[in-house]
Subunit: 273 residues, 2 copies
């Protein structure tokens, strides 16, 4: 079996932690992987812990004892959060995004792993101290955000569907009123997607009136699930009063102008306090 | 500005590479980040390169010259591929997955970032040498696989929708025949989602007759896009003849039995050659 040098172990540990944030690795796992004594691994972890703090990408928490382990919790510093939000606002307010019917085309951004990964970094960082069992979203555009956020939080996703599908088994369906258009719509979720009494983080791409978020919250009641947070990527400034109260948006769409094709989006300043 | 020790730089480099595979980082980027000379960074990269080969997680390629840089290309060894595929087969053939209408419930697995990340690792590794501009999928269940595969390949995703949405702008719609049920269905894709003459990797969760994959390929023709690969997570053994010829499946569903609730799924042996 290979023996690794210290800087090799540090490198490998950082790769392992980065690929599975919020996952508790046991010391034994590392001991076997590196063919090294627990005391050696402990020293390695201490170095990694210091490094993670120094480069300000989060923290390493360690658990002592026979079943001891270590977990990497990614957290963003204020500067990085600011940079990411500024970059996102620039992307979402690019020219040529206004399309027929006074909509803003954002699909390309919500399907770009680099963009979505930055969005997920912020959401996961903001809800890092909160106990979460599932990230819940509604199809379709919010799915990449949900899956990358869930990956960072190390929890599964549940996707609420617009239509009832045969491959979902027994489902719960509810009707809800779209906050902005007053249309009645249906959403359904497989009974198997959530465990009873779980804690969920709701995630969606866009919020205007808040009808979808409210629908999701109503759906969660059917599962006796507790909503511990709601995150949307972009909210519109108007209407100021949404159908849900507690939610976190990353960006605020102030206004846009069809004629000169300007879109005004700014970071949610609450995030930068 | 901070000065970092070698093992700290090695650790930070591994984290950076792991979080953005297939992305070319310039030496200058690292020099600035670590406040270090190019010669130092070159030595660091050489150590990282050796490490990546030693732990068999892929390779680091370096480009010389003024605009030189380095890129981490994740590749799976045969042993890891085998382990992942075996784990996936175990999960997908768990008891209690057979639901009314003789369907297998798989949604929870396709929404679990750990499961999907393993699936994406294999697909990205298999298509690692191929020039790909986009990963393309059809909503809904394939989206997590597409986004995590695309993240590993460092390309964007395009999601074909079942319905035409107002937020997608101008779309191209086609009708296609579902291979297994002979139903005629519609799929549509925003004109903005793909650049002309691009190369695409098609990804989907499940293939029975191959009708959806053929529909996706037909759609790609409308965009003058070249299909350079098709990957599905699970294919059914029957019908043996699908509507598409060249595709790669990770697993094969041989048969399942409602009565004793056994599901027989095995790894695609082609992957383990």
């Amino acid at each position: 079996m290979n023996k690794y040098k210290r800087n090799q172990r540090i490198g490998a540990l950082m790769k392992i932690f980065a690929e599975k944030p919020n996952y508790i690795f046991s010391y034994n796992y590392f001991c076997e992987m590196f063919n090294a004594a627990k005391s050696t691994i402990s020293e390695d972890i201490a170095i990694v812990k210091e490094l993670v703090e120094e480069i300000e990408c989060g923290k390493i928490e360690t658990m002592a004892g026979a079943s001891g382990g270590a977990v990497f919790i990614p957290l963003l510093g204020k500067k990085e959060k600011e940079d990411i939000l500024k970059g996102l606002c620039d992307l979402f307010s690019q020219k040529n995004r206004i399309i027929a019917g006074r909509f803003i085309y954002m699909t390309d951004l919500f399907n770009d792993p680099n963009v979505v990964s930055n969005i997920a970094k912020i959401i996961a960082s903001e809800f890092s101290g909160v106990k979460i069992d599932y990230v819940v979203t509604v199809e379709t555009k919010g799915i990449p955000v949900a899956i990358l956020t869930a990956q960072k939080l190390n929890v599964p996703v549940a996707v609420i569907r617009r239509n009832n599908k045969v491959t979902e088994g027994a489902t719960v369906s509810i009707n809800y009123v779209s906050g902005s258009s007053n249309n009645i719509q249906t959403m359904s979720l497989s009974r198997r997607s959530l465990k009873e009494n779980c804690k969920v983080l709701l995630v969606d791409d866009f919020m205007k009136g808040g009808g979808t978020a409210k629908g999701m919250a109503d759906m969660m009641r059917e599962f006796n699930a507790q909503v511990v947070g709601t995150a949307v990527v972009i909210e519109t400034k108007e209407p100021e009063k949404k159908l849900v109260d507690n939610y976190l948006s990353l960006m605020v769409l102030n206004r846009f102008n069809d004629k000169d094709e300007t879109i005004e989006i700014e970071p949610n300043l609450k995030l930068l306090k």
